[in-house]
Symmetry: C2
């Protein structure tokens, strides 16, 4: 049995807890939280909820710590610190800062002899893997990543900060015409505006100026100004009834050419359609935790990413079983 | 530079030759053929065409031999024999016989200290990888593989053996309604007939009984009897003009569930749309040849499959570049 700890118990941590139950070779040992443990109710009977600072005393009881904090301020501190004590997996997703995060975590994990897997999930994660496989197979080609349809937490937060807004949710939507153009093999150059639209569902406060809210959202730099954005005003009841979920997904497409005169076109497409973004991310984290435990047992320490993991290490099945049934 | 040999020079071998030209870190050293070398014209100026039996004298000049023979009778003999002398890659695609092929090749490669990569391509190969990733991420789920639309060489050969047939081509076509049902997340049970149809383009000999040909094709066991098959009679000119290509492709879909009560559904889909089946397969072989060279340099010998290869080994880019640009 691989003994797992969960560090941070929000949507992602709860997803990891559920995913562990779906894997017979894993058991949840403890959940660590910065909140008062007495106030944290978890779903797994008999498992301890501990204070975050108690983790350091449990390094012999946990094979892999899955760190479920946020990328902005939690993971840059937590992952290097915990990699001194545990094999760890995190979902660090600030793409531009991955190299520096990697270096910090690598130093800690090499010193401790632990295996630390960063930026695991679907983007970064499974989407990255598909960008890598696609570009290795078809070097003369072009990559496209589309996100959605799905809820962007960052854009939803931005809407809710607008004056006069009581609540709101934002969906990122890939543009069908752009997807079709990519799939045709024409390898188009696409602007930000051509690839995605942004769809907002907004609950205005009583008496708020809706025209002003709409204008403010649509002109918000970085978040909305570069996109075709639609703003729909709805009631809180409608928002709660129809927009409570956290669906997401997207597409990674490689369009490339082969042949003596590059006369043949090939399209590789990977897509996800997810009812729950945090639960799917959690499921990816859990199978990479299995790989982290195995790689550490074989002496592969230091910081790793999805690019470094032999796929067979993700499965609970033996090499012979995999070759017989899945190859 | 990684020095490559091509063993067998048909459609696949020519595809490998073209793919090597697309990869700056590789060079073609020699092509080996069972035909008289003087009769074999290749596309790369200055590269030697050698007799198959001369390969044994060139083990110090070639880093990886890419074996481009057929799975029925060539590869079961060639891959174990060549793995005694070279790192090798093959595209052995008889799924049911992979375990015994693996064992034979593993014995040879372990004895020689070489790295032998078998069953590389898209199915087995990239489709297998996606079946593995999908089932590791979503253990409560179901796998679906669809092939096509594309030319099946085996079925085309079967048509051409029918009495009265001068020429013919067969396309395997996935059934749209079945694909839609799988994508809906309903996890349907599908029969062979429900998943694919078979479309035949047949040139009849002068005076042949077309009704009898059609009947014979549609009732052929294993090949057509279990499918809804359509037979179109066309002229040789039309066959040559419209059906000369070797396109193929397909879909691997994982439909799975997560959540405390498995209430959330996720769909992972990987698809290929290929203008040239052998050229795409060749492109996959070439990037796995890079991995074979690297794994051997790091002491990982024996038989390997796509499941054993850390994805980063497929790319000519460094780990730091990959993390910066693709993660």
């Amino acid at each position: 049995m691989i003994r797992i700890g969960i560090y941070g118990y929000g949507n992602l941590g709860r997803g990891v807890e559920n995913a562990i139950r779906q894997n017979d070779d894993m058991e949840l040992v403890a959940v660590f939280s910065r909140r008062d443990p007495a106030s944290v109710k978890i779903n797994t009977p008999g498992v301890a909820v501990c204070r975050a600072e108690d983790a350091e005393n449990m390094s012999d009881k946990i094979d892999v710590m899955i760190i479920c904090g946020g990328s902005a301020t939690d993971l840059p501190v937590q992952t290097p610190a915990l990699a001194k004590l545990f094999n760890v997996v995190d979902s660090f997703d600030t793409h531009a800062k991955i190299p520096e995060h990697f270096d910090r975590v690598d130093e800690a994990a090499k010193a401790s002899g632990k295996t630390a897997m960063i930026s695991v999930g679907w983007d970064p994660g499974m989407f990255s893997l598909n960008r890598l496989y696609g570009s290795a197979i078809l070097p003369d080609g072009k990559d496209y990543t589309f996100w959605g349809k799905g809820v962007s937490q960052g854009h939803s937060d931005a809407i809710r900060r607008v004056d006069g807004v009581a609540d709101g949710k934002q969906y990122t939507v890939p543009v069908q015409a752009a997807l079709d153009a990519v799939r045709s093999g024409s390898a188009p150059e696409l602007t930000t505006r051509e690839k995605h639209t942004r769809e907002c569902f907004v609950v205005a406060k009583d008496g708020a100026d809706k025209a002003k809210i709409e204008q403010e959202i649509k002109s918000m730099p970085n978040y909305f100004a570069d996109y075709d954005t639609t703003v729909n005003f709805i009631s809180q009841e409608e928002l709660d009834a129809n927009h409570a979920g956290i669906p997401h997904g997207g597409f990674v497409i490689r369009s490339g050419k082969t042949g003596a005169d590059l006369e043949n076109t090939h399209i590789i497409e990977y897509s996800l359609k997810l009812d729950s973004n945090p639960e799917f991310t959690a499921s990816v984290l859990v199978c990479f935790a299995r790989a982290a435990a195995r790689m550490n047992a074989e002496g592969m320490s230091g910081c790793k990413t999805v690019f470094d993991v032999p796929p067979a290490y993700l499965s609970s099945k033996s090499g012979a079983e995999l070759r017989k049934n899945l190859l």
